[in-house]
C-alpha cells in the first residue's frame, strides 16, 4: 500500500516501538503532526521550548535503555534544538531527532523558517540525514535508530522537507541494516586482554577508573563483579556515578576537579590504572603533563578508538564493547594461576585509608544558614538513595554528585560534557515518562532553573510530580567561586538581582511552592514535598549560604594531586 511520507514517519516510530515523542509543532511538520493525531500508539509530549524537547528525550534515554525521540519544526525549531543535541552528543546519549525542513524546491531560497539544519547540526550529531526522496525515508529512519544505539551511541538527526511528507510510496520497514562504512567493534582483542589481565594481577597500587561508557553499555553488574573479585579501589567520573555502588567500601568517590582527596590521590599514585568507558578529560585528570609525571601502566577499554590515547598515552588499548570485554577479563582472571598479591594490596589500602581520613567532603554547618551540601544529604536520606536525580549545571551539580550516593546506574542524570544549564527540569520530565512511578528529583540553582523554567507548564499539563530542589544562593555560584579564587573577588555579573518569588511562580503554574530558610526546616520540607505532596510538583526554594564553595578543587591547569581543600582557603 502506498503511504505518504508523514504516514511513513509515524509507521517507522511504531515499528521501533517508540512510546513517547517530545516535540513542538510548526509549519514544516504539520503533516507529520496530522498523522500523530490520527493514532494513539505514539504519544506526543508537547513541551514549551524545543531545547526542552531534546533534554526530555535525553533524560528518557539516560534513565533507561530506550531511545529518546524528539520532533521539531524547521528553522527556529531546529536551531532551538541544537543546544540539546550538542548536550546529548557530548555525553554519547542515543537519540533520534526528526526535524521538519522547507519543501525541497525552496531549499537554498532563504525561505520562511529555513535553516541549514544538517549543516548546523553536523558537528554535534553522530550522524545526520537530509531526506531527498520519499523512497529513502523508511530506510533512513531505520538507519537513524541503528546508528543512535550501536557503537558509541549518540544523537542522530533526520531532516525531512515538507514535500517529502506529502509524497507517497510503498512502505517497507527494513528488519535490519548493514552499512559498509559502519561496523562497530564488539569483542576486544584477546591478546590485549591477556596483557591487561597480567598487568592487573601483578599490580601493587591498582585503581579502577570508570566513566559514562559503563552506564551506557549497561555493564554495571560486570564491573561490580570484577571490582569485587579483584578487591581493588574504584573511582568514577561525574558521568560514571552509579555504575558501582557508592556506599561500598571499595568506592573512593568521584574523581576529578571536584573529586574526593582519596580518589584523586589514588588516581595519581597508582601503578596500574584500568580505565573503562572513560576519556581522561580535562575535568577528570587535570593537567595531562602533571598526570603523566608518574610512571604507571594504563589499560584503557573503550568502544571508540579515537578516545584511546587522545589525551594520555595508553599502554594496553582495548577497543570493544565494555560488557563483552569485561566478560572476557573476568573469565581470564578466573582461569589465571596468579592472584593479586595480598601484601601489596593491603599496603595500598592502608595508604588509601590514610587519605580517606582527610575527610575532604566535610563542611561546617551552623544553625542559622542552610548549607547546600546538607540539603543534598537530607534528600539522600529522605529518598533512601533511590530517587532519579537530575541536575542542572554549577555548584549544585557538584554537590549533588558528591553527597548523593548512587548505588544504581542510570539514576544520576546530568549534563557532564557540555555543561548545559537548563538541562535538569526537562530531563526530569523525560525520566518521569519512562518511569511513571519513580521518585524524580531535580537539583538546581536559581540561575539554571530559569533557563528552562517554562517547562513548569509542561509538567502541569502532563501531571509530572517532579520535586525541584533549588539551592538558591543568589549567585551564579560556580562563576562566583572562580571569580573569588582566580579573579580577585571581582564578581562580574555573577550576582543575580531581581529573582522571581519562586514559591509564587510555582503556584502561578499550578504547582506547590515551599520556601525554606532555616537548617531545621530542611528535612521536614523535603518530607512534606516527597510524602504529603507525593503526586504534585513541588518547588523547594532553599535559601542557602551565599558564599559556600565546592571542595576539594583542582584548579584548571593544575595536577590531580594539587587539590585545594576546604580548610585551606
Amino acid at each position: 500500500m502506498q503511504l505518504t511520507g508523514a504516514e511513513i514517519v509515524i509507521r517507522c516510530l511504531q515499528e521501533e516501538k517508540v512510546e513517547h515523542v517530545f516535540g513542538y509543532p510548526g509549519g514544516s511538520v504539520l503533516f507529520i503532526y496530522d498523522e500523530l493525531f490520527k493514532q494513539d500508539q505514539v504519544k506526543h509530549i508537547l513541551v514549551r521550548h524545543e531545547q526542552a524537547a531534546i533534554h526530555a528525550a535525553d533524560g528518557y534515554s539516560r534513565s533507561s535503555t530506550k531511545i529518546g525521540v524528539a520532533l521539531v519544526t524547521s528553522g527556529p525549531g531546529a536551531t532551538n534544538a541544537v543546544t540539546g543535541i550538542a548536550t546529548a552528543y557530548m555525553d554519547s546519549i542515543p537519540m533520534v531527532v526528526i526535524s521538519g525542513q522547507v519543501p525541497t524546491a525552496y531549499i537554498g531560497q532563504d525561505a520562511f523558517q529555513e535553516a541549514d539544519t544538517v549543516g548546523i547540526t553536523r558537528p554535534c550529531v553522530k550522524h545526520n540525514f537530509l531526506v531527498k526522496d520519499v523512497k529513502d525515508l523508511a530506510t533512513t529512519i531505520k538507519k537513524a535508530f541503528y546508528l543512535a544505539k550501536t557503537g558509541r551511541p549518540g544523537p542522530v538527526l533526520v531532516d525531512i522537507p515538507k514535500d517529502i511528507t506529502v509524497q507517497k510510496c510503498e512502505f517497507h520497514y527494513p528488519k535490519s541494516i548493514s552499512m559498509r562504512s559502519y561496523n562497530p567493534v564488539v569483542k576486544g582483542h584477546t591478546g590485549q586482554i591477556k596483557k591487561a589481565v597480567q598487568l592487573l594481577l601483578e599490580a601493587k597500587r591498582p585503581v579502577i577508573y570508570t566513566g559514562g561508557g559503563v552506564i551506557l553499555s549497561d555493564a554495571s553488574d560486570k564491573l561490580t563483579k570484577l571490582t569485587r573479585m579483584l578487591g581493588y579501589p574504584i573511582t568514577q567520573t561525574l558521568m560514571g556515578l552509579g555504575a558501582y555502588p557508592a556506599t561500598d567500601r571499595q568506592f573512593l568517590g568521584m574523581l576529578g576537579m571536584h573529586g574526593t582527596y582519596e580518589a584523586n590521590m589514588a588516581m595519581q599514585d597508582c601503578d596500574v590504572l584500568l580505565a573503562i568507558g572513560a576519556r581522561f578529560d580535562d575535568r577528570v585528570i587535570g593537567n595531562p603533563d602533571h598526570f603523566c609525571q608518574v610512571a604507571r601502566k594504563i589499560i584503557h577499554i573503550d568502544i571508540d578508538p579515537s578516545s584511546i590515547s587522545k589525551r594520555v598515552r595508553v599502554d594496553v588499548p582495548i577497543v570493544g564493547n565494555v560488557p563483552d570485554v569485561l566478560d572476557e577479563i573476568i573469565k581470564q582472571i578466573e582461569a589465571a594461576e596468579g592472584k593479586p598479591v595480598e601484601k601489596h594490596l593491603a599496603a595500598w589500602w592502608k595508604q588509601i585509608e590514610e587519605w580517606r581520613k582527610v575527610d575532604s567532603l566535610k563542611y561546617k554547618m551552623g544553625s542559622d544558614i542552610i548549607m547546600p551540601q546538607y540539603v543534598v544529604e537530607k534528600l539522600y536520606e529522605v529518598t533512601g538513595g533511590d530517587a532519579f536525580v537530575c541536575s542542572d549545571v554549577g555548584q549544585h551539580q557538584m554537590w549533588a554528585a558528591q553527597y548523593y550516593k548512587f548505588d544504581k546506574p542510570r539514576r544520576w542524570i546530568n549534563s557532564g560534557g557540555l555543561g548545559t544549564m537548563g538541562f535538569g527540569l526537562p530531563a526530569a520530565m523525560g525520566v518521569r515518562f519512562v518511569h511513571p512511578k519513580a521518585t524524580v528529583a531535580c537539583i538546581t540553582g536559581e540561575g539554571s532553573i530559569q533557563m528552562n523554567i517554562q517547562e513548569l507548564s509542561t509538567c502541569k499539563q502532563f501531571h509530572l510530580p517532579v520535586k525541584i530542589l533549588c539551592l538558591n544562593n543568589g549567585y551564579l555560584g560556580m562563576v562566583r567561586q572562580w571569580q573569588q579564587m582566580f579573579h580577585g573577588n571581582r564578581y562580574a555579573e555573577s550576582y543575580v538581582d531581581a529573582l522571581p518569588d519562586f514559591v509564587k511562580l510555582a503556584e502561578a503554574y499550578g504547582h506547590v511552592g515551599i520556601r525554606v530558610t532555616k537548617p531545621a526546616d530542611v528535612e521536614p520540607a523535603i518530607r512534606e514535598a516527597f510524602v504529603k505532596h507525593k503526586n504534585e510538583l513541588v518547588f523547594l526554594d532553599f535559601l542557602t549560604d551565599k558564599t559556600a564553595n565546592v571542595f576539594p578543587m583542582v584548579a584548571a591547569g593544575k595536577g590531580l594531586s594539587e587539590m585545594i581543600l576546604a580548610e585551606e582557603l
Partner: protein
C-alpha cells in the same frame, strides 16, 4: 611530519563538508585536499595532505574512521607510494621569453596546451616539489595565473585501497 591520507567515502551530498568540518572543528591542518568519484560512482576518493605529530595524525585517522560515511582510511606515507599533482600556469610569452618558456616547459616535461600571441598555458604534472621547482625556474614576473589541483596519491605495488 607531512602525511598523505587517502580516504574512501560514500559519495553522498555533504560528505566533503563532514571531512573538512572535522579538520576545522578539531584544529587539524590541511595543506591540500582533493576529491572525486572512483570507478564505482557510489564512492569518492579523497586525498588529504596534513602536517602534524604522530599523535595528531593518529587522531586524524581515528576521527576520520569515526565518520559514518567514511569506508576506509589509509596513511599512504606509511609505505611506498606515488604522489601527483597537476598544475596549469598561464605565462606571458612574448619576444625572447617565448622561446625560453618553451624550453623550460620541455625540461620539466610540461606541455603547452593553449597558445595566444602573448601567452602560453603550461600543463605540468608531478609531485609538489617539482611544481615549486618549475615556478622557481621561470621569471616570476611572467606568471599571469597559477592553478593547482592539490596532491592525489596511490600506494605502490600490492597496496590497494578498495572496498
Amino acid at each position: 611530519m607531512r602525511h598523505i591520507i587517502s580516504i574512501l567515502i560514500e559519495n553522498e551530498s555533504g560528505a566533503l563538508s563532514r571531512v573538512s568540518g572535522l579538520f576545522s572543528a578539531r584544529g587539524y591542518n590541511i595543506e591540500s585536499l582533493t576529491v572525486a568519484p572512483t570507478e564505482d560512482p557510489s564512492l569518492s576518493r579523497m586525498t588529504i595532505i596534513s602536517i602534524g605529530s604522530e599523535e595528531i595524525i593518529e587522531q586524524i585517522t581515528k576521527q576520520l574512521n569515526k565518520l559514518i560515511d567514511v569506508v576506509k582510511v589509509v596513511d599512504l606515507s606509511e609505505a611506498a607510494h606515488i604522489e601527483r599533482e597537476l598544475m596549469l600556469v598561464k605565462v606571458r610569452a612574448t619576444g625572447k621569453d617565448r622561446d625560453e618558456m618553451k624550453r623550460i616547459a620541455d625540461i620539466f616535461r610540461g606541455r603547452i596546451i593553449d597558445v595566444t600571441e602573448s601567452t602560453y598555458v603550461v600543463e605540468l604534472t608531478g609531485n609538489t616539489a617539482k611544481m615549486s621547482a618549475f615556478l622557481d625556474a621561470i621569471d616570476r614576473s611572467l606568471i599571469l595565473e597559477t592553478v593547482r589541483t592539490g596532491t592525489c596519491g596511490i600506494g605502490r605495488g600490492d597496496r590497494i585501497l578498495k572496498v
